[in-house]
Symmetry: C2
Subunit: 561 residues, 2 copies
């Protein structure tokens, strides 16, 4: 089959009602697309498949948070301070560009340049397409900003990822999951990035759909109970050392330290299982490890599930071990206690150091204030001792005390457990990219231009085309009854009685409908119908009464349990 272009796929998308450029009657807006009837159904079906895996199979809970959030949240997450691209605007025509994109060809790796370096490079070498002069290179924060409430209001942002809604609800979720690690939470929702100049269709959007899973685990235990079932499966990896693609098993990759831990490996397999079930071609799917330079500084390991599409190898899912970064930051900024209590098997004797006041010295020196100073010292952690001094507050003034007034003593205590900040393993899915890649991988065009979308039946927007051969002699009634029987079972159908059967097949092939059922004269005599398979074009005769069972059987998907 010949190579296809994203233009051909997007043109089919528009023609068949998968994806429409948004606000087209008002000239459209780059980076905004709407899902049409078939796209919305395809999207819902992909989400259902994903929920089936994460909720029903893996036991994650699901929440649904807000798109609008206050500044404090995104201060804590780091997005206010460092979620920016460098932008440059033409002084003449006013168009804006990503500075690193304009510098391509001028430098081997423009991403690595500072603002000043990029500015110099562009000033010396580049002008706008309109031949206008370029203004200064500026940092542009990619969050959409707004105000919450009247007057000057509070600054708010549209969330750049759904994950923060899960982190800020950590305490609620921990309680809901009965205060035990590990537990996982998923969310399906919108993310927003005010891209400077989005291209590449639905691959880079200003408003996009995400499916994120956050798994909270014991920092000291990243084994996974079900790891054993998947460890011998093959996997195609591009590790960050060597850049050579290797085919190995999950088990071997964990043992050799290529994949950081069992839990990460297990969710890479879950990702593979999900993506290929949704319709990504296994031959065009791999996992690429983030380069050390590319990885967020807090992540200890990160892999992208990449699919090969007309834009090249493209990230579909990022699977990262984010350590304690997210919860620690929110603890620091909100002062809330976002820990888990790790209970020991039985109470343990623990020795620890404490600060102990010397009341004999404090009394004479501080008189009436001595009681209060004693309390301050008792509440103090040993980490508060610096160079033999501790600081207390006496009548609003800081006072340093030396070891005349306190001592550091070792005490033995019985404790039942310890507080830990859970680590987070995050599989984060770009739903629009996955959907689009399923369409590209399903797209087939014959030499005569005949297009078939071989979408996986489980995600296909329409499962069955129902046709009466002609709308007479009782064929219509039988077809209508069959159509209703299918819909009763929640199976999406398309009833079509116009044009030749060949044209009706063609419409359904282009819409990715796996089966077409035709009611003909034989049906009236013998009670059977023709079921035609989209991919093989084979036709079988099946009793009309068995059509629902035929379709349901083929839409079944076992859980991996």
């Amino acid at each position: 089959m010949r190579e296809i272009s994203s233009g051909e796929v997007l043109s089919l998308c528009k023609r068949r009602g998968f994806i429409y450029p948004a606000y087209e009657i008002y000239g459209g807006i780059a980076g905004l697309y709407d899902y049409g009837p078939l796209g919305t159904a395809l999207k819902s079906n992909i989400i259902e498949l994903w929920r089936r895996i994460y909720a029903l199979q893996e036991g994650f809970v699901e929440i649904d948070g807000d798109n609008v959030g206050p500044e404090a949240v995104f201060k804590a997450s780091g997005h206010v301070d460092s979620f920016a691209d460098l932008s440059v605007t033409c002084k003449a025509c006013g168009e804006s560009f990503r500075a690193d994109h304009l510098a391509r060809g001028l430098h081997p790796n423009p991403d690595s340049l500072t603002r000043e370096e990029l500015q110099k490079l562009l000033r010396d070498n580049n002008r706008c397409q309109c031949n206008g002069e370029l203004a200064d290179v500026e940092e542009f924060n990619l969050m959409f900003k707004t105000k919450i409430g009247p007057g000057n209001g509070r600054t708010g942002y549209l969330r750049p990822e759904t994950a923060q809604s899960i982190f800020v609800n950590y305490t609620n979720l921990y309680r809901h999951c009965r205060e035990r690690l590990p537990f996982g939470c998923i969310q399906v929702g919108r993310g927003f990035r005010n891209e400077i100049s989005p291209r590449q269709g639905v691959i880079r959007l200003r408003e996009f759909n995400m499916m994120e899973a956050e798994l909270f685990v014991d920092p000291e235990d990243k084994t996974w109970p079900r790891y054993a079932i998947i460890k011998d499966n093959k996997v195609r990896l591009v590790p960050n050392e060597g850049e050579q693609e290797v085919e190995t098993t999950y088990g071997e990759a964990v043992e050799r330290g290529i994949i950081g831990n069992q839990t990460l490996a297990y969710f890479m397999w879950v990702t593979y299982d999900f993506l290929t079930s949704a319709g990504i071609d296994p031959a065009r799917l791999r996992f690429r490890q983030h380069l050390k330079t590319e990885m967020a500084h807090y992540a200890s390991d990160c892999w992208d599930a990449e699919a090969l599409i007309s834009f090249g190898w493209t990230e579909m899912v990022g699977i990262a071990d984010r350590g304690c970064w997210d919860l620690s930051r929110h603890m620091e900024h909100s002062k809330a206690d976002l820990t888990a209590f790790k209970r020991f098997e039985g109470p343990k004797d623990v020795e620890r150091e404490v600060v102990r006041p010397k009341f004999g010295a404090l009394g004479p020196k501080f008189k009436g204030a001595a009681g209060d100073i004693k309390k301050q010292l008792e509440a103090m952690d040993v980490s508060a001792v610096h160079d033999g001094l501790v600081t207390v507050v006496v009548e609003g003034q800081n006072v340093n005390l030396d070891s005349t007034y306190y001592e550091v003593a070792r005490v033995k205590e019985k404790v039942n457990g310890v507080k830990v900040v859970p680590h987070v393993i995050e599989p984060s899915h770009g739903l629009d990219r996955i959907l689009y890649s399923c369409l590209e991988h399903a797209y087939g065009e014959k030499e005569d231009g005949y297009v078939t979308l071989s979408l996986r039946p489980l995600v296909a927007p329409i499962k069955v085309g129902v046709f009466p051969l002609m709308s007479k002699d009782g064929m219509e009634e039988v077809a209508r009854a069959l159509d209703i029987a299918l819909r009763e079972e929640g199976i999406a159908t398309y009833y079509d009685d116009s044009g030749s059967i060949g044209r009706r097949y063609a419409r359904m092939d282009e819409a990715g409908t796996p089966w077409c059922v035709t009611v003909d004269y034989d049906t009236l005599d013998k009670g059977d119908v023709t079921i035609r398979d989209r991919d093989t074009a084979e036709q079988v005769r099946v009793s009309a009464d068995d059509v629902v069972a035929f379709v349901k059987e083929r839409l079944r998907r076992k859980l991996s349990l």
Copy 2:
């Protein structure tokens, strides 16, 4: 059962994981709530029920549009110019209020006052709670505003309703639905209103979930094929004349002109069927017609489905005949052709007036330009004739021509149909309110404080609690297998092996789980289990092999076809 307060319900919501105040660790934000695990599942189930009715039963298509939109769209929809509340801010403490809310008690109907009148009233009579002086009353547009793109960008807004995404996609949808009226489109998604000072929990939110249906119909034909099946059903109405509640039938209400047309009546019934299936108590549900003063000026009829909850009678769904307003506005603003072609049964002879050039006069007068003027005149509609003159453009200049140069002639033509701007019937659902009201109507508390949520099985977040009596002697294995068998069928379960069976029942009753299955010693002998019904507390013994069928049977819902 005693009356319950919204506080009790919201407290259960938080405790059980239905609804959490958003961003609570950062102090929260009024009007923003997140759905917890049970709330998210309940919400998904309500959406699925709704889709089943609108997509599978009524044949509507579904789209999914963007939350962020450009100013032009909301100029056309009227939201930029007239989607505002009057706000007043305290000069001392900075708090903002809705001016009409502050004026309650000072005037019988503060909604009806102008900005100036409200200002005078508040100045004379009111101060802030902090005793501070109030600033001027100001118009505050309720849309969240943002910028799309870098630099000064383009002004964008978060959509205040999902409907506009459907209207701007009209042409795509009309084509998708094979250019025939009527056709319907639904959408599930977020809407945003930057409320001045939201109260009332999830009833008035700054970010909310909507389910909107837009039905495009022939303006001259508002009959509905399936009206006959529903017209004899009873309905409880509060018509806008008299304000007296009447119980009648849909059919009688249409005949007597109380409900505007058949289509509106049919979708009022669909709304009733949906709401009561979701769990709104029929005894606390009615339809109230908008008062003439309350109705949008373009709507020809509008009914609110209202449920009685602790906040009083509250709108759940608005069902309006919006006429041609939406599409006409977008035609005017975008210049796109948003009409439908209404094909006649056969070609019709139509007489119409046309502007016809008199070339004999144009040639001598305008020489070389005469050909172009002829074309302009031929393309002209007769409505362009004013006071016997028409205006043409000659070498960039407007020139008025009198009837020396043209005539208005009557011509006969064969035409196959006529363009019409479809009318829109809109059932618009406030999903959060519906979900909350289902919770309130399901809430039951015994004298000893024991809480049961009698959610309808179809929407209940967890369908089955699965309990081994004890985790030993093989009971755990049987219970686990049963749990998996249920989840294989897509049925959400909660496996619980901790605490007494009574405590486990209590947890499930509070979560609204309709059935609990217990595996005990008898199961090991005879293979049967106990199924306990939440609402009757009755227990039946059923073969473990039949549990899946038992539950599936009870979750079935026929389409009304």
